[in-house]
Amino acid sequence: VIEWLLTCHEAEHALSRDLDGLLDEHGRRTLRLHLLVCDECERIAWSQRAQQSAFRSLLDVQLPTALRSFDPDTHV
């Protein structure tokens, strides 16, 4: 049973790995078990996922006019 227990610090670490898809099945189950019993870590997990989705909004960036084409003579 002890192998299935995670501290909150370990759970946060595992959560970061899970967001990157690096957690195996055993680790994912262990993390899910911890999130079931720890409300603070569950809130952190929800917040991290919201951050990850919010990062996608940074993709909408307009390129400045000065960078439309590259001319090394003008840059030099």
Binding site: C8, E12, H13, S16, R17, L19, D20, L22, D39, E40, E42, R43, I44, S47, Q48, A50, Q51, Q52, S53, A54, F55, S57, L58, L59, D60, V61, L63, P64, A66, L67, S69, F70, P72, H75, V76
Partner: protein
Amino acid sequence: VQIGNQERITAADAQRVAYAAKTVAWNKPQDHHENGIHPVVTPFLAARRRAKDRAFERLYRDHVHAVYRYALAVLHNEADAEDVTQTTFLNAYRAYERGERPHTPHNWLIKIAHNVCRQRFRDSSRRPREVELDDSLTPAAADDSDVPTANEIRRALGFLAFNQRAALVMRELEGRSYAEIAQVLDISVSAVETLMFRARRALREQLESGLTCREAEQTLTRLQRRDLSSADRGALRAHLRECKDCATLERRQRAYRGTLEHLGVIPLPASLATFIGGGASGGAAAGGIGLGVKIATVLAAGLVVTGVGREPLNAGATDKAVPAKRPAMRTESAAVRATESNGTQPGTKKRSSYDQRARSKRSRSSAPNGGSAGGAQQPAPTQPAAAPGGPSGGADQQPSGGPPPPALHLRVPLHQPPPIQLPEIRVQLPELPPPLQLPPPPPIDLPPIQVPPILPPPPPGP
């Protein structure tokens, strides 16, 4: 073969250039192009250069958006991001001219951009910080959704360490693997994993932070008493990243604490190591005798001199050996600590606005965790040892109405110190050598001293 523009050509190309060079003498020297390539003489090289430029232009169009996006996310400034993008492609173009052809142009360009960003970050940390007007700082319309916006993400990223924000942007924005990030940042893959974990935590703390300087100062005080939850510690860390003054205050307090802790680790002298037995060396020599043995020795010597018997010594030592006041003092200090941690003293129990906001955010959590404030328990009062024959000693500790308990006689056996047997020391002094027979000194012939006659003083003048 190497010519003016440092382009490597093959032997066949060299023959063609040599053939074309025969006509160069017939042309005017002012026809030379400024980049060193004569368009009439070397049309082959000029065509190759144009093809190379076209290839680089294609590379530029494919990746300029990603490079600019990366620079903007890392530097949080459009002008800086534009400069960094131009510098990145200029450096890439020079490397391209030297003949460098990357297998993965995207990684190559991002690595160049990262180095340029790092240089820009170092330069900007030395000069005064320019803060541009940000719409996100103005109070916007209340948005109930807890998902952060792009501006909030950018602003929070600006407070992170440079490597943290670079790793976060590369991972979340560009979807790079840990190995690619490790290659760009020149660190190991496991270090990238730790870096990502810390960067995500720091970003979350920045997004959730809302401490004022006054609240941060109060939180620092609670930090010294080790009375902070993990959420409070995160809010404090976030505020210290934003506020340089509070960060300086925290560093000073930490240094002060460290100095005080160093005062507590003064090494104990060897003679005070134990009370009864010998020191670590196990012997009684060289000052390794325990403190108790020394005291007993002094007392015994004094008693032998004054002729007092041994029984009163034992009785006195037995009475003194019972530490009756020690548990009471501990109980009192524990009670003080419990009061402080409960926050019942006026002025210490002040919940910050961040806590209230955090609590409202954590409304989903139904069961309280029972933080550190509720964990302290009042220790049970200990009953002090009653003095033998003194009925008034424990009177106020007894419950009212009940019969008084029998007098408690405590007799703590005192370990009798072992008899000291001093070794008999026999010192044999070596025999002194016979006195030296010095020859008498030769007589010294001094010349006679002639003293000049003393003249009478001159008569006084008129």
